[in-house]
Amino acid sequence: MDWLTIITNLLPLLPGGGGQAGALAQIAADLIQRIKSQSGMTTEQILDRAGVTLDDNKRMLLEDLERLQGANP
């Protein structure tokens, strides 16, 4: 994987990379930490985590969709 591309793209969102401290910096840091944590996990664990995240993503997006369509019918 092009890890360098991923990290290079996210670093500018971090305070040390030119970004500002705040929610987006934390989100970028969490994503880098997630990628980093794969090295201590089995392949099965990585796939399981991906499945949980995808289910969580769907739930969050459906919540957002309901809220936004309620505001902009």
Partner: protein, 152 residues
């Protein structure tokens, strides 16, 4: 005596070096599915990050409700495409043969199309230039994860 300060650039360099050491281990040839698992996990994580980023930008008024709605719909399609791909990768028990590779390529094409639509319809349409630039960084992460499969 003034305390000696370490330049920010040096700290950044150390962070990058440490990340590269831990995030770029040699793939185990006895586990050919590992790189696919990591790439799918990165796609799931990047979509999750983008949802959180979009929520943060919306709550700060840096994207409009209409832009938020367009992004949400496009993210749902992308998340569904990755979910289908994830299920297929999870069902693999060995390195994919030719017919499985063809199937994976077809599923991956759906992911690529969904991510392109997310970019073209969602991110590029964001009016606030700074918000657009930040969201584009997560799109780049998704695209980098997809490139893992270019060798299929």
């Amino acid at each position: 005596m003034k305390p000696r300060r370490i330049p920010k650039l040096h700290i950044l360099g150390l962070v990058v070096f440490s990340l590269l050491l831990t995030a770029c281990p040699q793939e185990n040839p006895n586990d050919p599915l590992r790189k696919y698992a990591k790439a799918v996990d990165n796609m799931a994580g990047a979509i999750n990050s983008m949802i959180r980023a979009k929520r943060s930008l919306a709550s700060d008024g840096r994207i409009t409700p209409a832009e938020d709605l367009t992004l949400t719909k496009a993210l749902l399609v992308a998340n569904e495409a990755v979910s289908v791909f994830h299920k297929r990768v999870k069902s693999l028990t060995a390195a994919p043969d030719a017919s499985t590779k063809a199937e994976l390529i077809s599923l991956l094409n759906n992911v690529t199309t969904a991510v392109d639509d997310l970019n073209n319809q969602g991110v590029i349409g964001v009016g606030n230039a700074e918000s657009k630039q930040k969201l584009a960084r997560f799109i780049a992460t998704l695209k980098a994860a997809i490139t893992v499969f270019s060798g299929l």
